[in-house]
Symmetry: C2
Subunit: 202 residues, 2 copies
């Protein structure tokens, strides 16, 4: 549904329409297979207009999800530093974002993803292609192992967010970030770079 507002109806409606088409196409095809061309077609506009309004496909994806953060900047920053503390830095980054005003949007998105299949797909694409894939790329991890390592990281980070911010289970809900980093950082580190016997193909 296109929201009609009083001011500059043409531009605003076009932008809204592109964002809605983007959500549909990204959820249906996934981030990698979605094309700006297909999104433009679904919105009934020229691809050049999509680029004009939103820049790259990646930026369009972030805009379509109302993402308050840009993983392309944050993840390389967090991953820079000693490889053996990457897990701690990733947990610290997640807590910093979710504890900030941006966390409110993140909680809302997560709630919605739990009850809505389309939001779930968008969130999965966001987490996998924008967050985890970048983290893995920075760490130079074996390509065959990367998908399972990334998904394991998602189980721990997603669960931390759920227990701390959605279900608010104490004492995790009000624990100081540094204690959670000390507890959960090593888990994420092991999933990222540790030996995982019995986990990969025989």
């Amino acid at each position: 549904m296109v929201r009609r507002s009083g001011r500059r109806p043409g531009n605003q409606d076009t932008k809204q329409s592109i964002l809605e088409s983007a959500r549909t196409v990204f959820a249906e095809a996934g981030f990698d297979k979605a094309s700006v061309r297909a999104i433009a077609a679904a919105a009934g506009v020229d691809p050049a207009l999509v680029h004009h309004y939103f820049g790259t496909k990646e930026k369009l994806f972030l805009a379509s999800m109302n993402s308050p953060i840009n993983p392309a900047e944050l993840i390389p920053e967090a991953m820079a530093g000693p490889r053996e503390q990457a897990g701690e830095r990733l947990v610290a980054l997640v807590l910093r974002i979710w504890d900030s005003p941006a966390g409110v949007a993140a909680v809302a998105l997560m709630r919605s993803a739990m009850s809505n299949e389309w939001t779930a797909r968008l969130m999965r694409e966001f987490v996998v292609t924008q967050v985890l894939r970048r983290a893995i790329a920075e760490l130079d991890i074996d390509e065959k192992e990367a998908p399972i390592r990334a998904a394991l990281v998602a189980t721990q980070i997603g669960g931390l967010a759920m227990i701390r911010y959605l279900l608010k289970v104490e004492p995790v809900a009000s624990a100081p970030p540094e204690r959670l980093v000390a507890a959960i950082g090593p888990t994420v580190q092991r999933y990222l770079t540790g030996d995982l016997p019995g986990v990969f193909d025989a």
Copy 2:
């Protein structure tokens, strides 16, 4: 809202009314502080009738949540065995339940808990008092450390359920259980019984 059905209206209505009062009181007061007396009063019946229909407070709680499993039986079973593999056994148990027909109800409950504050409270009470507290008790863990250890286990087990069953992120979504046990069992073990420097009060 009490559902009116044609058959044995008195009994069915009374039972429904007790279950609804139970959900309200358990969510408001928490499992420990909720009393059968208060639930009976809210339903406008005699406490003896609540015991007659549902047995103990614990059984009433399971009934009020439509729990397809009884943690009082399952957890001690899973925890029995070598202490250093308790984490693996707990992950294996969770996967066995969620992969079974009972998992459908569990997914529905989890979805609902994400979007509904009352269901979230009931689920939190269920996970903490019925599942984690029992697991911790079986392992004879320091009382002061138990709450944070239990909540850390919840972050990993809850996240596993979310990624595998709700968001369905591959390859975790379709991984054979034994690979997930190999990957995630050691995490849960560390949270249950491992050294966790920097996590507890200084």
